[in-house]
């Protein structure tokens, strides 16, 4: 109300310019107040009883001070005043072109939001972020978040900035306030480094989990729970690999490097697989590679060649397809004798023969053709074997045997 009064006062005085020559009556504060008293709807009325000195005892204002000085006093009456502002379009174009500009002139909320929308429309992130940081300085956080939430582009720019500046808490507030809870992973990701110590990761995880687990989606929560448990287990066991499969490989190494393993797969390895819900393919792949690396062929056979209960035939028992299984053995330079022990365990003879050819297991191929009584196929295969090798001699011996060939 007081503000309104001074506003009216200003208007009154400015409407009729102050002129000492005219017989001008300055509205006294007394009469002014009583004016406002008359309008009841303006709110509670001040009971103003103070009686000012009678008009006669006062000196006229013009004798008190010069016109120039009175103007100075009046000019000193300060009010919230809107300076004329350049249009937001003009400012944004200046910013786009790299010319001098000023944002501090935009003080009302509607101006600020116009400015933000114009910045977004420019599709220049440099401008968008500059405007957002100006808003951050001049608006309350919750007010700012409210407006950012309604503008996806602004949200992205601001959250990227908070992440890069490692302002984790602010980022979390923004994410939660805007309802983008799936972005909570980025809160966790803020300041995350690949080779952080396990202890640091654990602290970060526990804190993150404590603060935000209720807001996460069930999938995210499940993932973070698994992660937390794994790190906890690693710290407990003084292990430090980056991933589950690396950890399994490490366990295999510590178990088999010395080649002194007894009969069965170590308990530690089996437990690990069960506790960590490791997929069969991933598990077997690591185990095979580890056994091959340490040349533990007997163990490999023991683990992966099994009889079928019904037919008593032995087969390769693995989720890994036979082709891949054989190729990886070959990649690790498994001796031909080992390959030839696995080859018969592939029920599909066409496949096993073609693999044998590819992996140069001549003995296996020769035996196969002999068993098929296929003389012609054997003859043509012999072209591929070097003449002075023992396999060639073996094939020749087979050819000259009194076998009954079908062709």
């Amino acid at each position: 109300m007081a503000w309104k009064s001074s506003d009216e006062f200003w208007n009154t005085t400015s409407r009729t310019s102050f002129n000492f020559d005219d017989d001008f009556e300055i509205i006294s504060s007394r009469s002014y107040i009583s004016d406002s008293k008359s309008s009841d709807n303006l709110g509670s009325i001040v009971n103003y009883d103070f009686e000012s000195a009678s008009a006669q005892s006062l000196l006229p204002i013009e004798s008190l001070l010069s016109r120039r000085n009175l103007e100075a006093v009046l000019n000193d009456v300060r009010i919230t005043y809107q300076t004329p502002t350049p249009s937001v379009q003009e400012t944004v174009i200046k910013m786009f072109l790299g010319m001098p500009y000023s944002l501090s002139v935009y003080r009302s909320l509607s101006q600020k939001l116009d400015l933000l929308d114009e910045a977004i429309a420019s599709e220049d992130g440099n401008i968008i972020l500059a405007v957002l940081l100006f808003l951050k300085k001049t608006l309350e956080a919750t007010e700012l978040y409210n407006h950012i939430t309604k503008r996806k582009v602004a949200y992205r720019h601001y959250s990227n900035y908070l992440m890069e500046e490692l302002l984790e808490q602010e980022l979390a507030n923004l994410v939660i306030c805007s309802g983008n809870t799936c972005d909570l992973v980025y809160v966790y990701g803020t300041g995350l480094e690949k080779d952080m110590s396990k202890d640091k990761v654990q602290i970060k995880l526990l804190k993150f989990f404590l603060d935000y687990s209720k807001m996460m989606s069930s999938e995210q929560r499940a993932m973070f729970t698994e992660y937390k448990n794994f790190i906890g287990w690693q710290i407990e066991n003084k292990l430090s690999c980056h991933t589950l499969t690396e950890e399994l490989a490490f366990l295999c190494k510590s178990q088999w490097e010395t080649k002194s393993d007894g009969s069965n797969c170590a308990k530690q390895i089996i437990d690990f697989r069960a506790q960590r819900h490791l997929n069969d393919f991933q598990y077997e792949w690591i185990v095979i590679n580890a056994l091959c690396t340490f040349e533990m062929w007997e163990r490999l056979k023991h683990l992966f060649i099994k009889p079928i209960w019904l037919t008593k035939r032995v087969v390769i028992k693995s989720v890994i397809n036979p082709q891949l299984f054989m190729t990886v053995l070959h990649k690790h330079n498994a001796p031909t004798s080992v390959l030839e022990e696995f080859l018969p365990c592939i029920p599909d003879t066409e496949l096993s023969t073609s693999l044998a050819k590819k992996l140069l297991c001549h003995q296996f191929v020769i035996n196969y053709y002999v068993s098929q009584r296929d003389r012609l196929a054997l003859l043509s295969y012999m072209q591929e074997i070097s003449r002075d090798s023992e396999h060639y001699t073996y094939a020749e011996r087979m050819l000259n045997s009194d076998k009954r060939w079908k062709n």
Binding site: S122, E123, H242, N279
Partner: protein, 590 residues
């Protein structure tokens, strides 16, 4: 003529750098972000720098160099790099009496307003000077322009950060000063459209080109995410494969010998990587000119023949008379010797490509063809699992997942199953990658309801991807019939499976297809915009293709073939030459 102009763009870059260096008289030192060394070498040699009073050049490391000369730091736009640097400078200033005009930071391609705020907040405003330097695109090889600004794909398509988007319009504005402003512009994708708008703003407020005639008839702009497939498919051509296996930086493919162990941490055999150094320059290296765009199996046989020929030449020289030898030494020997060097490098590189991809190349290509033809989803999924588990290669697995996600689409449970294995294989650290895939548009929040239906049902539902590639005839009906040896179809760059979108658009424009028809065909792919100042049908048969977010060598090879087929000249420009692996790196970085 146009190539000469493009190669000479570096003269403008030099003038820009010279202006910055001359802002401070006397001797000065340069401190370079290691990633900037290669592009800067391309722009100016050491002699030029010395002539501009550069005394010493340092690599930017954890500690800033101690020298009495004014220092010019060159870094790429990055808030965190700048902050680290400023912290160091502030530390140095505390110990040292301040010398005026000592620290200058040149930021490529531009500094941001937030950098100035930071300078102010750290009390360094006025003490440290910032400069924006948007150098001219580098002419890496015939018709290939690259801004060599890293991480733009990540910024624009994963983080949705538009801070550097204006550099595309700026680069065109610069370029048109040299080659004139084309009268036909075509943009497909949200960012490309913004680039044209920003270009308008520059034209309305800043000087226009003084060239009346334009060298190019058209500019075609495309967002990387409109054609992800061209970046995800395994390439078949030599240069593209070099980029896959070694990585190419600024037109140079380099690998120094390192003692690699036999196994990785999971006991997988590590294939050997031969040390090489190849500058991908078709002008000087005639062997490279011949093989760069060839189907890879062809390359090995050509290299073998070349080796035989050179050996024969060496043998012949042995039987020469003395004066013949003299002539041979003075004229041919040096050429032969340098050819031998080139050849040796290409042979090593080809061997490494075979070592790295040979074992799965066929299977990979078969799977990719099935994906493009929407066949064999379950076997494709099985192959995805195989790659994930057996390759120990994060990028390879994720890349195939992305390809499947945009072609055949994946159900929630398929993604979930992959995800669990992925995290077990490569670490929970990558927990955020799933979100990045959503942001970049590989996965959608509602993982398309159709993907969750049984296969038989979903097959009858139209999948946008297949509808689109059929409309644009991007997938040859029978890839086996595409000639790979002497290609006449641009799909050869992917073994006959797929024609890059940019090639189909360029070919429609070069053939003067009515604009309405082009509109109808491309409308479903995303927003697009056409600026035609009476420039269509095209007058000049030279066009500029500009890809926002990185172009691949496969696309370049396909454009080169299109040039031959249509008798046109195609300049390909981008922020960086990338491979699918670069996209995967962008997705797996926090």
């Amino acid at each position: 003529m146009i190539y000469k102009k493009l190669s000479s763009l570096s003269e403008i870059s030099k003038a820009q750098i010279s202006k910055i260096l001359n802002s401070c008289s006397g001797l000065k030192d340069l401190v370079l972000d290691p990633k900037i060394i290669k592009p800067l070498e391309r722009i100016c040699g050491i002699r030029w720098l010395k002539a501009n009073y550069v005394e010493k050049i340092f690599k930017l490391e954890d500690n800033i160099p101690n020298s009495s000369n004014p220092q010019f730091y060159f870094i790429y736009t990055s808030l965190s790099t700048l902050k680290k640097l400023l912290q160091q400078i502030r530390l140095r200033l505390k110990n040292d009496a301040t010398v005026a005009d000592m620290y200058h930071i040149v930021i490529i391609p531009r500094f941001l307003y937030v950098f100035e705020n930071m300078l102010e907040e750290m009390g360094l405003f006025g003490v440290v000077k910032l400069y924006s330097l948007q150098w001219q695109p580098l002419h890496l090889d015939r018709g290939i322009l690259s801004l060599e600004i890293p991480n733009l794909y990540r910024r624009l398509f994963v983080q949705h950060d538009l801070s550097l988007l204006p550099i595309y319009a700026k680069s065109l504005w610069h370029l048109y000063f040299v080659i004139g402003k084309p009268r036909f512009h075509f943009a497909l994708g949200a960012h490309s459209i913004s680039v044209l708008k920003q270009l308008d703003t520059l034209y309305e407020n800043l000087p226009n080109t003084d060239k009346v005639e334009a060298d190019c008839g058209a500019v075609i702009m495309l967002d990387r995410n409109v054609d992800y497939v061209s970046a995800l498919l395994t390439p078949s051509t030599y240069t593209a494969l070099l980029n896959e296996v070694y990585g190419i930086n600024c037109g140079v493919c380099e690998h120094k010998s390192t003692g690699t162990p036999e196994h990785d941490q999971k006991f997988n055999r590590i294939p050997k990587k031969e040390p090489i150094q190849i500058i991908l320059d078709s002008t000087n290296d005639s062997i490279y000119r011949d093989i760069k765009n060839r189907y890879f199996p062809e390359v090995t046989s050509i290299l073998r023949t070349l080796t035989r020929d050179l050996r024969k030449e060496g043998e012949n020289s042995r039987g020469m008379a003395l004066d013949e030898i003299k002539k041979y030494v003075s004229t041919q020997l040096q050429a032969t010797a340098s050819k031998m060097k080139y050849l040796a490098n290409h042979l090593e590189a080809a061997q490494t490509i075979i070592n790295h991809l040979g074992h799965r190349f066929e299977m990979q290509q078969d799977t990719e063809q099935l994906l493009i033809q929407n066949k064999g989803k379950s076997s494709n999924l099985a192959y995805l699992e195989e790659v994930l588990v057996t390759e120990n290669n994060r990028n390879a697995a994720l890349r195939l997942l992305c390809l499947m996600a945009i072609t055949q689409k994946l159900s929630d449970s398929e993604v979930k199953s992959f995800w669990q294995k992925f995290l077990h294989e490569f670490g929970y650290y990558y927990g955020f990658v799933h979100n990045n895939l959503l942001r970049a548009g590989f996965l959608t929040e509602e993982t398309s309801a159709s993907a969750n239906l049984p296969n038989i049902v979903s097959k009858f539902l139209t999948n946008d991807f297949y509808v689109n590639i059929n409309r644009l005839k991007q997938a040859p009906v029978d890839p086996a019939k595409v000639s790979l040896k002497a290609p006449t179809c641009c799909s050869y760059v992917f073994g006959g499976a797929y024609i890059p979108l940019i090639v189909q658009i360029a070919s429609m424009i070069l053939c003067n297809t009515p604009l309405n028809e082009i509109k109808t065909k491309l409308e479903p792919l995303g927003p697009f915009s056409i600026r035609n100042e009476q420039g269509y049908p095209l007058e000049a048969r030279t066009i500029l293709i500009y890809i926002v977010g990185g172009v691949t060598y496969s696309e370049i090879a396909a454009c080169n073939l299109l040039e031959t087929l249509t008798g046109s000249t195609i300049i390909v420009c981008s922020d960086k030459i990338i491979s699918g692996n670069d996209l995967m790196e962008a997705l797996t970085t926090v």
